[in-house]
Symmetry: C2
Subunit: 187 residues, 2 copies
């Protein structure tokens, strides 16, 4: 997905303001398996996915638990870093070869203070992420594992081809064995 579409989908900007953002954006290609963010590190960048797919995970005891997937058009942000300039608790790993748009947080923060349109773009960005987060929260709290699995398939059918089931299981809040049982029952 092209950067113009990504920016405008969040909040449409005049070309002057959009150019101010775009001037700060670089493009990079990174291979499958690359770790984009490390837990307990200050991250100074955010990304948007042009092509590819990624996951964020953290450790609980010894095992990784995936709590976020990102695909074309999605932002990759460590929120603790972005909002509070604090170390995050998550690793972000690329699950395919990726093309990314890269943006220094510091530059964006500066633009927020200089350009009211960009400030409102940043506001909308967080509002939309907040809606997504609340939806996930409700789905975890209200629905059974089977319902969450079916909803994921419905919202994002191709995830099953692109991401291995162990990651999907932990994203759903269950073990891989349990997901396997759910899938067997649905047949």
């Amino acid at each position: 997905m092209e950067i113009d579409e990504i920016i405008d989908t969040i909040y449409p900007l005049t070309s002057t303001s959009k150019d101010l953002i775009k001037k700060s954006i670089l493009q990079t290609k990174l291979p499958k398996g690359h770790t984009l963010f490390k837990a307990n590190k200050i991250e100074t960048r955010i990304y948007f996915i042009k092509k590819g797919i990624a996951r964020a995970y953290a450790y609980s005891e010894d095992n990784q638990i995936t709590f976020w997937f990102g695909k074309e058009g999605d932002p990759i942000v460590s929120m603790q870093n972005y909002v509070n300039n604090q170390k995050g608790y998550e690793d972000v790993e690329l699950l395919e070869d990726c093309e990314l748009y890269e943006l220094k947080t510091e530059k964006l923060q500066k633009l927020f203070l200089e350009d009211i349109q960009i400030a409102n773009w940043g506001r909308k960005f967080s509002e939309l992420e907040l809606i997504k987060s609340e939806e996930r929260l409700i789905s975890l709290q209200f629905n059974t594992a089977t319902e969450r699995y079916l909803a994921l398939l419905k919202n994002y059918p191709s995830i099953i081809q692109r991401v291995q089931l162990s990651h999907i299981a932990s994203y759903l809040g269950i073990t891989q064995v349990s997901l396997s049982r759910i899938r067997a029952k649905l047949k």
Copy 2:
């Protein structure tokens, strides 16, 4: 909690900008049991809690599931209404007699477009809510019901005096019977 402190804790404003917000704010007192927001309705206001406590809940089949508590200093916002001008899925009910600061969403939206400081205040507001939402999500996905219960007690000890256990149970994602068992084991 006073409105100046609530506003400044989110993002400190010059008095000029703060006054612009405060000019749009009314104070109301509403009794325990009052329903502030109704599901499937367009809500045109947001609130901040000066005094009291509230919960947001939605229905799953026939039973209410509480997914949010707010206390002194917290905002009361139906996010679907606030962000997308769409009907929300939640009722918000006051659990004590409350004193609230009331603000028309429309007026705030206007200020966002006119005052860059307020736009950044609104940005920060959503960022902070997003951090809270992500923390809850992680706690639901990573921790056991017992751990979530203990964490809630630690973060907010007095909740146990102010809110009945059936609401706390559904907030934790379990039944009241299950919470009762957890409490019995902890003794």
